[in-house]
């Protein structure tokens, strides 16, 4: 099940692996994505730190890691097809897979319904 952060990232955990991407709402706000600056595998990030940067036609946006962990894999398809972030933000347009260290960090993230309400309240 996906969990969402207030900064509009999602994370989906399977065992020790967390897949991270940005929400559909976030890609709509960003506009057409032209480049994703992905981290090197092995890089360690703490929850809330910058995980990668997405460049759209409008601006550069930092993506914050919704959980702490070590980068296992990045979505190589985004090198040739950054538009996957727009077309399929919550599936094929995933960004990074992390090895998570502390599952309790997921508890303050929102589920899909809570996140939808959060976006509505943000206007």
């Amino acid at each position: 099940m996906k969990k969402f952060a207030k900064s509009h990232e999602w994370v989906e955990v399977e065992g020790k692996t967390a897949v991270v991407g940005i929400s559909n709402h976030a890609q709509e706000e960003l506009g057409d994505v032209v480049y994703v600056d992905l981290p090197e595998p092995g890089k360690e990030v703490k929850k809330g730190e910058v995980l990668c940067t997405i460049e759209s036609v409008k601006a550069a946006a930092d993506v914050y890691s919704p959980v702490s962990g070590k980068v296992l894999e990045v979505n190589k398809n985004l090198e040739e097809k950054p538009e996957l972030v727009n077309e399929s933000p919550e599936s094929n347009g995933w960004l990074v897979k992390l090895e998570i260290v502390d599952e309790s960090e997921l508890s303050d993230l929102m589920d899909e319904e809570e996140y939808r309400k959060f976006c509505e309240s943000e206007g």
Partner: protein, 369 residues
Amino acid sequence: MGKELKNSPLHNEHTRLKAKFTEFAGWYLPLEFEGTLKEHKAVREVAGVFDVSHMGEIIIEGPDAVKYADFLVTNDVTHLKPGQACYTPMCNENGGILDDLIVYKITTEKIMMVVNAANTDKDYKWITSHASDFDVEIRDVSNDYALIAFQGPKSEELLQSLSSVRLSTIPYYSFTYGRISGVPCMISRTGYTGEDGFEFYVDPEAAVILWRRLHDIVKTSGGALCGLGARDLLRLEAGYLLYGNDMDESTTPLEAGLSWTVKFEKGTFIGKEALLEKKKKGLEKRLRGIVVEDKGIPRPGDSIVVSNEEVGTITSGGFSPMLGKGIALAYLKIEYAKEGTDVGVVTKRKELKARVTKPSFYRGSVRSR
């Protein structure tokens, strides 16, 4: 709260089509309809329709209209024939650029200046306050016109089916009057995209009819309605400057790469002495193009460096779909402004390898002057 934002006469159309909006120069305008990249591609390959009704229009009329317009701007207005137009900066006494605009010679006694939305009030005040020695009447007619641009390599072909005006007979930077889809317009072969195209000055009441008709023809031909996002990207690729970003009152046309619009050999004009002086003394900075070789996008405000020394600043930047690279306009210290110079662009996160180029990255179907 600031001043209330102005809406275009086509605002309800844009809302109905669920455009994404943005604030620009005091106006609430469409940023994109279907996505900036798709709209950009449509204009490069077929045609795009833009609502640019926010632009300001100022009329100078009277026996001295041409003489006065020529005194206000750096380019030569006296040599234009009725039905011709020119692009020109308008400078203050120091040679600083007050605005960049298009001067249309409607008759030998009537000039229309089309100015940037953000500068309309400032320009109107400037123009009225320098007119005392000239027999002219000046009117801000911005509210009398909607302005729709139709741009792209197929623009002439697609429009011809809507008009009995022989569009092929209108040269670049010329204009005529006629109907497009029954709507009376001033039809101008001008644009801001690097492609061939036309701009239509129409009665705001009639603008919706024309807009819908143009929407119909782009829908069936692979074209698109376009927002400001595509407009900004297209003009950047074409190397066209944006007032407020790439020039302002602290820059002269000489530094901005607009020397071709400064006609020292014509009669006197505001800023002439200062510009001559500047030309004699030599420039300290110059606007150049920057092409990024690394992956990454330059943005306004990013610094340009050469071996850790800051040598310039980016004023416009973005991703060029035609080059598949980051491109930018930047002011560079003159000793680093040579084409081919290797430079670095310091973005928020890293330094990108880049090269100094001509400030024109892509030339499409646009006619030559």
